[in-house]
Each structure stands twice: as C-alpha cells, then as structure tokens.
Symmetry: C2
DNA sequence: CTGTGTGCAAACTCTTTGCATAAGT
DNA sequence: ACTTATGCAAAGAGTTTGCACACAG
C-alpha cells in the first residue's frame, strides 16, 4: 500500500521487465504509445496506424502478439463490446463503459460510480470473475 | 395488457407476417427452431448445424441473412459478448447474462433481478439505449 | 552465444455480397 | 406474373500461425 501506488511513474522498460517481457524495441515503442497518454481504448489496427504515423515500423502481426502478451501480463484488458473487432483498454482497474455504437467510441465510467445490486447466485462450482457493464448510447433525437 | 400478452402462442407464420417478413420455408424452419424451445442463445453456425441435424437444408448465408432480418424485426437480439463470434438471443425482453468463458455458455438473468445504480449522465446529445450487464464466471477452485 | 522475439506471408474463421435461380403472393 | 428470397461461391475483414532471420541478455 506504499510503494506500489505509482506504477504509472515506473519507466516503461522496468514495467516490461516486471511483467516478464523482454523490452525489445517494438514492445517499448508500443508500450509508450499505450501508456503515455492516460487511459486509452485501442484496436490492433489503430495502434498499428499510430506506429506508422510516428514513422516507426512494426508489423501488424507483432502488434497483435504484443497486445495479447500485454493482456496476459495484466498491462491491458481486452474488451468484448463491439463484436467484430477486439479492443484493448489501458485502464486495468475496475471500471465500466459508455459505448457510442454509431462511432464505435468508448468512454470510461469510473469504477466507484456504478453499483450493481440484486445479482443472483452463480451456478454451483462457479464464481464471479468480473462484471462488465456497458451503457450503450445513441444520439438523442428529442430536445 | 390484454391481447398482446401471449405472443408466444401466435403461430410462427403469423409472427413473421406481422414482422413484415414473408414466411418462406427457410424462415419458418429457422423461426421454429429458434422460438419453439424457450429462450435460446445461438450462433449462426449452431443454428445451421441444427437445420442439418433435422434433415433440412438451408445455406449458411441464408442463416446469417435471416438472423439479421429477425434482429431488425425485433424478434431477436444480437449479443456482443464473446468477441469472436456473434450470438443471438431469442429473449428480447430486458435481461442480463452470466457468461461462462471456458465453455462459451450463456445463462439468462431475469430483467428484474439486477439493478444498476449510480449511472453518470450520458454526454450531451446522447441518451441511453440499453444497458448490458455481463457477469463473467470461472470455475471455483476453492471449496 | 543462446534463446526469445519479430516479420512476412499464408492460412484460418467468421461474415457479407453479387448474381442467377427459385419461391411466395 | 411480379417481387422478394435463396443458394452458391467468391470476396472480405480481422486475426492467428509457421518459419527463417534478428536481436537482447
């Protein structure tokens, strides 16, 4: 509760090492894009596009591999919201989302805000691993 | 509140007509598989498999088309839970789900049971269309 | 050096589409 | 008859994989 409060200030290279991932050029680059601008929701293609935009070169396959490695290491969380394509969230803490279907855009809802009551018992032998709340939004015609 | 209470007793052919869909052999067959056995969660492939299993023949493309037509007509709801493949729910009323990741299995949670509190305001110009709550389950090691 | 990671292209899965044929009203 | 739906095969998106080469420790 004292020295782990500021993981965001830990250098990228360190964070990768702690996660058991060798800090290769590609992984450091991707980690910097992901974790240096606050909470983000990215797809593989978006991230790959950013890499190119920055004038660097990482193959799309490596972007996929890296996103999954980061997810396995707990640096990212994979979101199943859109259905057709996978999104990864750099905010790994407990929180939920607004989803604007028309734009495919996600907005965080902080974890403390929402409370879910009245959950039934899970079936025998099962336990709850995580609760996802997705608040789907549409443009408001009225008003 | 009097004469619309039992849509489940309305003949399939009628329900299709009401939905503005011509009751073709394929649509009637698929609708019967979908709506004659209580609430179901199906993927296109599962449903196609059932058609074959019953000794009938409907192309997979038609299964996809039909599922989307039914969804557009409000007979089904599409679920974005799994990420990789689309699921369709024959229960169109307000309710939520347990999801057992290991098996890809879905279990309904009735609509009244769960209550979500503390929702923040949607961004300006937006309104909430629907709230999805997915309770992800894993096998309980302990106990 | 030695093992891990990367890039590429090909393969794969799920889903959609175009067009000729078939079926519903 | 006239229109809409279906089937097929091919195309398309997103993602994964196999293998030779490159790089971090």
């Amino acid at each position: 509760m004292e020295k782990e409060a500021d993981i965001s200030t830990t250098p990228i290279v360190e964070r990768l090492r702690i996660a058991g991932l060798r800090p290769t050029r590609q992984r450091v680059l991707l980690a910097e894009l992901l974790f240096s601008q606050g909470d983000r929701h990215v797809s593989a293609e978006m991230l790959h596009g950013e890499v190119i935009g920055v004038g660097e070169q990482v193959s799309l396959a490596t972007v996929y591999n890296t996103l999954h490695q980061f997810t396995g290491a707990g640096l990212l969380r994979e979101l199943a919201i859109d259905g057709s394509k996978a999104f990864f969230d750099t905010n790994v803490s407990n929180h939920n989302h607004f989803f604007i279907e028309e734009r495919g855009e996600l907005i965080d809802i902080s974890g403390e805000q929402i409370r879910v009551d009245g959950l039934p018992e899970p079936p025998p032998g099962m336990r709850i691993s995580h609760i996802d709340v997705v608040v789907r939004l549409v443009a408001d015609k009225k008003k």
